[in-house]
């Protein structure tokens, strides 16, 4: 896969002192003016400001203080429950893998650190890539995700993801199809409230649109192991479409309440779509 860079920005000031690409609260060698300070507070004579010094009623020498730009941690928190196994027009897991590879590359390009946490049930060990500057880490991880089908029987492990995310505010891509209880989603979003969470809805058009017109089909849920017989017919087809439409609206409403609208990936992964989400 050809790696395309994703551009992203965050609407908050980073706290880290590691130089990077994002607006920061840290004083340092940036281009954005912060304040004036006497030489003892800002000991850099090159920043001597003649005008400010002449204007100062207390006739003190004023030196300019600037803000630096900082790096932020980027995380992809992915749902590895069995529902992500679905293969429609695209395999959901390959969309996740593409996203991981791309974000890892983009984080490297932007100068940010990249980490990954893959969760399924709360009892199983999460797939965890610690926040790293290693630019190959995401590529390897993506290869792993492509080959190992997710087996989790639920998505409650996402509640524990916050514990692994670290103390710095990070940009977190919460990747899932969100085919679970909205109250669980609410709890997950509350647990991640400290971070800037971008919900990425990995849906597939073949899940709910362009369904067969007529026929008998037995669908199997790998997550619960249950199966159901469906007599497909135009009316049921319409009802499924309506059901997914209303679910999409409901999820969007929940995400909106927690700060961001979801990024919906319905037609496979497209790096430009992600860029568009931040700058569109």
């Amino acid at each position: 896969m050809k790696l395309t860079e994703v551009h992203y920005k965050v609407p908050w000031r980073a706290a880290g002192n590691f130089p990077g690409h994002h607006a920061s609260r840290q004083k340092g060698g940036g281009a954005q003016f912060r304040n004036h300070a006497p030489l003892l507070d800002a000991p850099d004579p090159r920043r001597f400001d003649v005008h400010a010094s002449l204007r100062d009623p207390f006739e003190q020498l004023q030196f300019r203080v600037y803000r630096q730009t900082s790096a932020i941690p980027i995380y992809v928190v992915a749902d590895l429950s069995a529902s992500m196994n679905f293969v429609g027009a695209n395999a959901k897991m390959s969309v996740v893998a593409d996203l991981v590879a791309c974000m890892s590359y983009s984080a490297y390009r932007t100068g940010d650190r990249f980490g990954f946490i893959g969760c399924a049930d709360p009892h199983s060990e999460p797939v965890w890539l610690e926040s790293t500057m290693n630019r190959a880490a995401g590529i390897d991880l993506a290869r792993q995700l492509r080959t190992r089908p997710p087996q989790g029987s639920n998505s409650e492990g996402l509640l524990k993801a916050a514990e692994l995310l670290g103390t710095r505010r990070a940009l977190v891509f919460l990747v899932s199809d969100f085919h679970f209880d909205p109250t669980l989603l609410d709890e997950i979003l509350v647990s991640l409230a400290y971070y800037d969470v971008v919900p990425v809805m990995v849906w597939d058009r073949h899940e709910y649109a362009q369904l067969p017109r007529f026929g008998i089909v037995r669908v199997m849920d790998h997550e619960t192991g249950r199966n159901r017989l469906l007599l497909m017919r135009p009316s049921l087809r319409q009802r499924i479409e309506r059901e997914f439409d209303s679910r999409r609206e409901r999820l969007a409403e929940i995400f909106r309440q927690h700060g961001r609208l979801p990024l919906v990936l319905e037609d496979g992964f497209d790096a430009d779509e992600v860029t568009h989400y931040f700058f569109g």
Binding site: H179, G215, I216, R218, V219, M220, T224, R228, L229, R239
Partner: protein
């Protein structure tokens, strides 16, 4: 009542639970069933298919076990009578009619003419064929009475019984009394369900002693039987109605005395003297008109093997299931 020819096969019956547990369809992976809307029709179809499969397994197992319905008696109501045909099979019945024979020959050599017995049997067969709802019994008598067929409404049997024995070589004597008594015993222990007829087909030449007469009278009264006598007059016999003294009649026409006894019994009786086949036919037609009353009888329905039905049901159900298999989708979109 139902039974099984091979009950051991029934141990396969628990297999019928299999379709209720295992669906046997290829499942298509889907992300989340909980998101799909509730659909009653689909759920109903699911159980209907499982039920059909279970029923077809049951049907196959019942078929293997050889399900049958055992014989049973059914009460039926028909239009008609219980008729005992009492057929004289004495030697005189092998002679031709007085007049009106189809094939006349000077010397009555067997095979060159149609005998009285043969014509009588043919006409009786026609009569029986017309009255499909009647019950018939057949009784032959000459020297000794021979019960041929007890009361039945099964046409095939009746026709076969009448047709049988239509050959020469009858015996010489005619024991009308014993024949009549024995034929009346057919009604013994049977419920009176409609009119009862004894059709005596004879050419006479028999005497009835007083005790025999008494017994006949008693039995006819007891069983409430109507007696019809088809009298087939032999050539040179004076017939039933020629006036003559009792002593003379005893000598040359004993049937006159028998007729007299029957007529004076004060019981339902009618004689049909027939000199030729047409007359006999008319006589029989008249009886046909007279006896057309409702009759109640119990019919025995024979044991019936139901396993072909079981297999048939199983086949049709399996065909239905196979057709749904063709509607099955192998992929989800």
């Amino acid at each position: 009542m139902f039974g099984f020819a091979d009950p051991l096969g029934l141990i396969l019956l628990p297999l019928a639970l299999l379709p209720l547990v295992v669906h046997g369809q290829s499942a298509v992976a889907y992300s989340s069933i909980a998101l799909l809307p509730v659909d009653r029709l689909s759920d109903a179809l699911n159980w209907i298919l499982r039920l059909l499969a279970a029923i077809s397994v049951i049907a196959i197992v019942l078929g293997i076990s050889g399900l049958f319905r055992s014989e049973e008696s059914v009460a039926r109501i028909g239009q008609g009578a219980q008729t005992v045909i009492l057929l004289d099979s004495s030697g005189s019945m092998d002679t031709p009619f007085v007049i009106g024979n189809e094939k006349n020959s000077r010397v009555p050599k067997w095979g060159t003419y149609t005998s009285k017995g043969q014509i009588a049997r043919r006409l009786l067969a026609q009569y029986a064929a017309q009255r499909t709802q009647d019950m018939f019994a057949l009784f032959l008598f000459s020297g000794n009475p021979i019960p041929v067929l007890s009361l039945t409404e099964k046409q095939v049997v009746v026709q076969a019984a009448i047709a049988a024995g239509s050959i020469e070589r009858s015996l010489a004597s005619t024991d009308l009394g014993t024949g009549l008594i024995r034929s009346l015993e057919f009604f013994d222990g049977k419920a009176f369900t409609g009119s009862r007829i004894v059709m005596l087909v004879s050419d006479g030449a028999a005497t009835l002693t007083i005790p025999v007469q008494d017994q006949i009278k008693r039995l006819l009264k007891k069983h409430r039987v109507t007696l019809y006598w088809f009298y087939l007059r032999t050539e040179s016999s004076p017939g039933l109605d020629t006036e003559m003294a009792t002593a003379t009649a005893q000598q040359i026409a004993p049937e006159q005395l028998v007729h007299k006894f029957f007529s004076e019994m004060e019981l339902p009786y009618r004689a049909f003297p027939a000199e030729n086949p047409q007359a006999l036919q008319q006589a029989i037609a008249e009886v046909n008109k007279l006896q057309n009353l409702p009759i109640r009888y119990t019919d025995i329905v024979p044991k019936r093997d139901l396993s072909p039905w079981c297999f048939g049901i199983a086949l049709s159900l399996l065909l239905m299931l196979a057709s749904t298999k063709f509607c099955e989708l192998q992929e989800w979109h």
